[in-house]
Amino acid sequence: MSQDAKKRVTDIGPPHYEKFLPEMVKKNYGKWLYHEILKPGVMVHVAESGDKLFTVRTGNPRLVSIHTIRDMCTLADKYSNGNLRFTSRNNIEFLLTDEANIDPLIADLKAMGFPVGGIGNAISNIVHTQGWVHCHSAATDASGIVKNVMDALCDKFESMSLPGKLRIALACCLNMCGAVHCSDIAILGVHRRPPRINHGILSNICEIPSVVASCPTAAIRPTTVNGKQSVEVNEDQCMFCANCFTVCPAMTLSDPLNDGVSIWVGGKVSNARHEPMFSKLAVPFIPNNPPYWPEVVETVSKLVELWAANAHKYERMGEWIERIGWPRFFELTGIEFQKEHIDDFKHAGLSFKRSAHLRF
C-alpha cells in the first residue's frame, strides 16, 4: 500500500501543448502572416516563411463515442500527420500541410456523415450543455434540440451565404453553462412552476436557514407541515431561478407540464465593430416537444432567415436589430411583444426607452 501511495502522482496538470503541435505549427509559431478562406470549411494560413497550413473543419455532435474519436484519429493519421484539434465551439479541425489531401479528407468525412464547414460567414456548431443526458437541473434536453436545429441549419454550416457569423448556444437551465447570455441566438431551458416541496424529507436533508437565504426574491419562508419543519414558497414571488434547488434537493422545479425553452437573440462576444452584448428575450416560452421540438426549430430557422435576408454585410444579429429597432424586429418576426419581455429585475429601468428616438 505504501508502495502504491508512492506511485500515485497528482497535480501534474495537462500535457504540455508543444507535444501535440504539428511540425509546421511549431516552425511557424507566432509567425503567421495572413489567412484566406478557400471554400466552406477550408482555410489556409500563410506564414512569414511561406509555409501554408490548410485547415479543414468538420461538425461534431460533442457527445461522441470513443469509436468515433478513433475514426477521426484514423483520418488524421491518413491526411494530417497524426494531428488534429478541437475548436472552442467543439468542431474538429484537421491541419494539413498537403493541399492535395483536402478533398479526399472531405470526401471521407462526408461519407462518415460529418459535414464540413463552419468557417467564415456561416453558422458554426451550437455551444451546448448536458440536458437530460447528465444534469439534475435540466429543464429540457440539450443534445436533442441541438440535433434538430443543426439538421435544419446544416446547409448554413456547409456554405458561406450569411451576412456575418451567427453563433447559437443552448443551455438547459438558468445556470447557463455556456454562452447563452451572449449569443446571436440562444435557446434556454426554463422552469415555470414554483418549486414543489418534499416536506417529508426537507428538514432531514437541507438546512432550512440556507434554503430561505438562497432565494433572491425572498419568496421562501420557514413553516411547519404535518408537524415537520419545512418551508413554503410565495408563488407570486418566484422567478424560477432554481437557486433553492441547487441548495436543497427537496425543492424540485423540474416539471413535465411546464418546462420548456425560451429564445433569446442579439448577443455577441467579439469586439469586432460593436462591443459585446447580452442576448435579449425574443420568445418567452415554447413547451418541450421531443423528439423534434418543431416549434423551436421553426422559430430559430425563421430568425436566421430574417436576419440573413435583411442584415447588412458583417452585421451580427444584434447589430442588425439595433439598426432597425426592436419594434420592427417584433413586426418582422410576428412575435407578440408581451409583459414578459419587459425587464423587471435589478436594472430594469435602464432597459426602458429613455428617449424620443422612435422608428415608425
Binding site: L174, M176, H181, L188, V190, R192, R193, P194, E235, D236, C238, M239, F240, C241, D255, L257, N258, S262, G266, F278, S279, K280, L281, A282, P284, F285, R323, I324, G325, W326, P327, R328, F329, F330, F337, Q338, K339, E340, H341, I342, D343, D344, F345, K346, A348, G349, L350, S351, F352, K353, R354, S355, A356, H357, L358, R359, F360
Partner: protein, 405 residues
C-alpha cells in the same frame, strides 16, 4: 466679525463684470425695501462664513391651498430682522412665458407693495417666483394676484405648474399646440395643483418636438414630446441651395444622422423613413429644406426626476404616438388611471417613475390598461428571471389550458 453694518465688501465685488449682476438687482430693490437690504446683509454673512442662514422649512400658505408658498425663516433674525420671515410665492406663469408689459407691470406693482421687490424670472419649474414676504402678507398678495388674473403654482405633493416650449407661437417645428395643452392641463388639474394629495410631486412638461426645449425628458413625471409618424418633408430645391451655399451635406447632415438613413447624391436627398429616429438633427441643420412630417402628434413619456434618493431617472416611452387635439381626452384618461394606481399604491415621497420601477412596468401597464409595446423599451429583458404567471397542474383539462394561480 459678522456683518450688520450695511457694508457688503464681498458682494460688492460681484457688482461689476459683463454679465448682469444679481447683486446690483438686490441693491436696486434694497433702495426701497428694507427686506432686500437685510437679504443683502445676510447673504454677505453667508459669503463670509461660507454657509447659508435659513432655517429648515416651515409650513405657511394661503387659505384653502396646500401649495404655492415656501416658508422661509432666517436663523439670524436678530441681526437681520427684516428677513425673519422671507417666504416665496410661486405664481403660475402663462404658457410659454409670454407677457404683455401691462401684466408684468401689474405683477411688479403687487410685489412692490407687499414683498421684497425681488423675483426670479423664472423658477426652475417655470413659475414666477416672488422672493421674500411675510406670513401676514400672503392673503393680501393672493387677493391682488387673482384680481389681476393670476393664481399660485404648485409646491408639495401635488401637480406642479406645467410648462411648455414656445411651440407653434414661434417655432416651425411644433408638432402639436404646446401652449394650448399646457394651459388645458393646468386648468384641468387646478384642484390637484393647489391641494396636495399625491404620494409626491407630479410634473408635466410639453415640448413641441424632439429638440425638447423645456428639458421635459429629464425633469417631468410626464414628458409630452411632439413627433410625427410619416416621412420627413423634403424640399430638394432648398437642399440644393444649402449645398450651393457651401454646406457639406454629406458630412454635416448625413454624417451626423444617428440612423444612417440619409442618402445624398449631390442633387437629391433621400431618407429611409422607416429607419429615421425622428431625432431632428437634419431638420435642425436645414430648416428651409426639411420639415417634420404631416401626421403629427406626441410621444408620451413618463417618470423623469432628480436623484433624490434612488438616482436620477429619464422619462421613458409610454405611448409612442398620440394625436394631440383638444380636449385631449385620451391623454387625460391615461393620466387619471396613472394617478389612481399611484395614489393607491405609491409610497410616501415616491415619484411615479420610482413607483413604476418598484412594481414593474409590466404590472403598471396592466393597472392602467395599456398594452405592452416594444416602443417602451430600449431592448427586451436580458436576464432570465421571468415571473411566468401561469402554469399547468396535473389534471388540467387536456393539460392544454393554463391556470392562473
Amino acid at each position: 466679525m459678522s456683518n450688520t453694518s450695511g457694508k457688503t465688501p464681498k458682494l460688492d465685488k460681484l457688482d461689476k463684470g459683463p454679465w448682469p449682476s444679481f447683486v446690483k438687482e438686490i441693491k436696486r430693490a434694497a433702495e426701497k425695501s428694507p427686506m432686500s437690504k437685510d437679504l443683502l446683509g445676510q447673504l454677505e454673512l453667508s459669503y463670509e462664513e461660507k454657509i447659508g442662514h435659513w432655517k429648515h422649512g416651515g409650513i405657511v400658505g394661503v387659505f384653502g391651498y396646500g401649495g404655492g408658498v415656501i416658508g422661509r425663516y432666517s436663523d439670524v433674525p436678530d441681526k437681520f430682522p427684516n428677513v425673519a420671515h422671507f417666504h416665496t410665492m410661486r405664481v403660475n406663469m402663462p404658457s410659454a412665458w409670454f407677457y404683455s408689459t401691462e401684466a408684468l407691470r401689474k405683477l411688479c406693482d403687487i410685489w412692490e407693495k407687499h414683498g421684497s421687490g425681488l423675483l426670479n424670472m423664472h423658477g426652475s419649474t417655470g413659475d414666477i417666483i416672488f422672493l421674500g414676504t411675510v406670513t401676514d402678507k400672503l392673503e393680501p398678495i393672493f387677493a391682488e394676484l387673482t384680481e389681476a388674473g393670476f393664481d399660485l403654482g404648485g409646491s408639495g405633493s401635488d401637480v406642479r405648474t406645467p410648462s411648455c416650449c414656445v411651440g407653434p407661437a414661434r417655432c416651425e417645428w411644433a408638432c402639436y399646440d404646446t401652449l394650448n395643452l399646457c394651459y388645458d392641463l393646468t386648468m384641468h388639474y387646478q384642484d390637484e395643483l393647489h391641494r396636495p394629495a399625491f404620494p409626491y410631486k407630479f410634473k408635466f412638461k410639453c415640448a413641441g418636438c424632439p429638440n425638447d426645449c423645456v428639458a421635459s425628458v429629464a425633469r417631468a413625471d410626464m414628458s409630452i414630446i411632439g413627433t410625427w409618424k410619416d416621412g420627413i418633408q423634403i424640399d430638394n430645391g432648398a437642399v440644393k441651395e444649402y449645398a450651393d451655399k457651401g454646406m457639406n451635406i454629406q458630412k454635416d447632415v448625413c454624417g451626423n444622422c444617428p440612423a444612417k438613413c440619409m442618402e445624398w447624391d449631390g442633387s437629391t436627398m433621400a431618407i429611409d423613413n422607416s429607419l429615421c429616429r425622428r431625432c431632428m438633427h437634419c431638420i435642425n441643420v436645414m430648416p428651409k429644406a426639411l420639415r417634420p412630417g404631416k401626421e403629427r402628434g406626441a410621444c408620451i413619456m413618463i417618470g423623469s426626476k432628480a436623484p433624490i434618493v434612488e438616482g436620477a431617472l429619464l422619462s421613458s416611452v409610454l405611448v409612442p404616438f398620440m394625436k394631440m387635439e383638444p380636449p385631449y381626452e385620451e391623454l387625460k384618461d391615461l393620466v387619471e388611471k396613472m394617478h389612481d394606481i399611484w395614489c393607491e399604491e405609491g409610497k410616501n415621497r415616491e415619484r411615479i417613475g420610482e413607483f413604476i420601477q418598484r412594481v414593474g412596468l409590466g404590472n403598471f401597464l396592466e393597472a392602467i390598461e395599456v398594452e405592452p409595446s416594444p416602443y417602451m423599451v430600449e431592448h427586451p429583458r436580458d436576464n432570465p428571471y421571468v415571473f411566468y404567471e401561469e402554469y399547468f397542474e396535473e389534471g388540467d383539462e387536456d393539460e392544454g389550458e393554463e391556470e392562473d394561480e
